[in-house]
Symmetry: C2
Subunit: 66 residues, 2 copies
DNA sequence: ACAAAATGTAAAGTTTATTTGTCATATTGG
DNA sequence: CCAATATGACAAATAAACTTTACATTTTGT
């Protein structure tokens, strides 16, 4: 799983804190997510996609190892 | 999180076992997923969407409580 | 009706997501 | 330059996803 949350967040000019608050997770979750440290839940993915007005697949991409 | 995996599976005429095998999870995971017992990971959601050739949002829908 | 296949469900265990707390470093604005 | 804000990172704890095993019920095909 790759994601480009960091880029989307930059586009929308939000801090990790802001973003975390808007979708109801902790800042560390956003930080670790951007660092590719884990795969988020579908709820989280859908909320991010909705907030960024993007398709889920435009933010999250399956990798061969998934 | 609502989902219509059961419907998609019916459309594609797959058993829970088949589907589980194709996306690499256990049958019980599919069963529980269809029963709405938990929120799947984004990897699982993306794999299902890919297999069913649907948008993730056509299979999974956020609910007000999410 | 019978047997096989499919589904529902549940408990126990393992792995992974997410939180909370904390600290160090970097970046930004006055 | 200084102070505030933002980011990176880590560890311990909790919650939730997912597996395995197992069994009961339902559905399907002959």
């Amino acid at each position: 799983m790759k994601n480009n949350v960091k880029v989307q967040r930059a586009i929308h000019n939000l801090t990790q804190q802001d973003l975390a608050g808007r979708i109801g997770v902790s800042r560390q979750t956003i930080n670790a997510l951007e660092a590719g440290k884990y795969v988020p839940s579908t709820v989280l993915a859908l909320k991010l996609a909705k907030l960024f007005e993007k398709d889920v697949t435009e933010i999250f991409e399956l990798e061969p190892t998934d």
